[in-house]
């Protein structure tokens, strides 16, 4: 019994010491001491995380509460009175930010529902495996047809179709005239149509 009392006394004394140290850092921060301030904030992070856990915050959201609390400490630092406990001041802020976090999560839950079946049954906009295979097949046919074009026709197709450039843009980039590109583009289309239709 006596040993337990001694342990409790030692813990209380350590907590008081930690609180005094934090209060001194905060007082220095109020005077503009950046090193003391950053030390204090880093020292507070595990404590804030503990408070957030105690309030029932999900593990993946604890860092959000930590960051919200650190921001609040920053904006409210003029309200801290060094004659009062810093840890109690910080705990109240962390608890409040954790409650805000819980409310936010609650609000999200009212807008989002857990429906695994609906998720599984939702059609894939990219199409099924058959459609994908058909698409790959078509691409291969097209690539093979483009490969058989003359150099000038292939150049016209690459710029006007694959890179979606205008005739003027393609003419500037290739150094060719618009008329020449147009002629090669139409010839290339005819060749491609004949090639693709011939394949089917």
């Amino acid at each position: 019994m006596k040993i337990r009392t001694t342990v409790v006394d030692a813990e209380t004394s350590t907590q008081k010491e930690i609180d005094r140290r934090r209060a001194a850092w905060m007082a220095a921060a109020q005077a503009g001491d950046r090193a003391a301030y950053e030390t204090l904030l880093r020292d507070c992070i595990p404590f804030i995380a503990r408070v957030a856990r105690g309030q029932g915050i999900r593990p993946d959201l604890i860092d959000d509460v930590v960051q919200e609390t650190l921001l609040t400490v920053h904006h409210a630092r003029q309200t801290y009175d060094p004659n009062r406990s810093f840890t109690a001041w910080l705990r109240t802020i962390a608890q409040r930010r954790a409650i805000d976090g819980l409310r936010r999560t609650g609000r999200m839950r009212t807008h989002e529902i857990h429906a695994p079946l609906a998720y599984e049954n939702h059609s894939d906009p990219s199409g099924g495996p058959e459609e994908t295979t058909f698409h790959i097949d078509q691409t291969e046919v097209l690539n093979s047809a483009v490969g058989k074009l003359s150099g000038r026709q292939r150049e016209a197709v690459e710029h006007l179709a694959f890179q979606s450039q205008s005739l003027a843009q393609a003419a500037t980039i290739t150094g060719r005239s618009i008329g020449s590109l147009r002629v090669d583009w139409h010839r290339a289309l005819k060749t491609l149509q004949a090639h693709v239709h011939g394949k089917h």
Partner: protein, 225 residues
């Protein structure tokens, strides 16, 4: 995978600490709420003094002492002012308990109770004139007009704090301003308590509290961002 995520998070926290450190400027520590409430009450006292110079204080005292409900109501409104202002200043600090909001409640009950008693009283106070028909409108304008500067000063003072409950702080602040205006009204209001008059007072007070809640809340919330 999990350890990578933890590293990213701790890196974010560390970057935030560095950013806050870079943004650090020396701040003037806020005075204790008791001192801040005294400052606001001094402003109120100055307004009361100015009004006292143009009002008939002897007649006011005579009227207030003629029936217990009259001075109890005046006492109730004055105490509501003091306690509501103190509660608002306490609530403007992040570590203060929400129970501070209950501080003005007994005085508020006294004020409402005594005012209600005035309506139920069967005799009229001698020397108190019957209220002219246009008087309630004057009372309404007076309470609203007097509350406006008091509310502005109070909200600006509360803004220096950092309320984690801006709604509640604004409501209690509104109550302080409305009750202050109603207390000051005694100085220039030589009428007995009549039901219509009290209804107008209550209406004006509710408007002041609602206006403070809407406007004050926005100002207090903007200070916490």
């Amino acid at each position: 995978m999990e350890s990578t995520e933890i590293m990213i998070r701790s890196d974010l926290n560390d970057r935030l600490v560095q950013a806050l450190g870079a943004d650090l400027r020396p701040v003037r520590r806020l005075a204790p709420p008791s001192l801040r409430v005294l400052t606001w009450l001094t402003t109120l006292g100055a307004v009361a003094l100015a009004l006292a110079m143009v009002s008939d204080l002897a007649a006011m005292m005579h009227r207030l002492m003629a029936a217990p409900d009259m001075w109890l109501a005046a006492m109730g409104s004055l105490l509501t002012t003091v306690f509501a202002a103190l509660a608002a200043f306490e609530l403007s600090l992040p570590d203060r308990k929400v129970a501070w909001a209950l501080l003005p409640l007994p005085a508020l009950l006294l004020w409402i109770g005594a005012s209600g008693m005035g309506c139920l009283r069967t005799w009229s106070i001698a020397d108190a004139d019957p209220m002219p028909l246009d008087q309630p409108a004057h009372c309404l304008i007076y309470i609203l007009g007097m509350s406006l500067p008091l509310s502005l000063i109070l909200i600006l003072m509360l803004r220096r704090g950092f309320s984690l409950r801006p709604n509640l702080t604004a409501i209690i602040g509104g109550l302080a301003c409305a009750s202050a205006a109603a207390t000051l009204l005694n100085l220039i209001h030589p009428y007995d308590a009549a039901a219509t008059d009290l209804a107008v007072h209550a209406f004006a007070i509710i408007i002041v509290i609602i206006a403070n809640t809407i406007f004050g809340r926005r100002v207090l919330m903007s200070s916490t961002r």
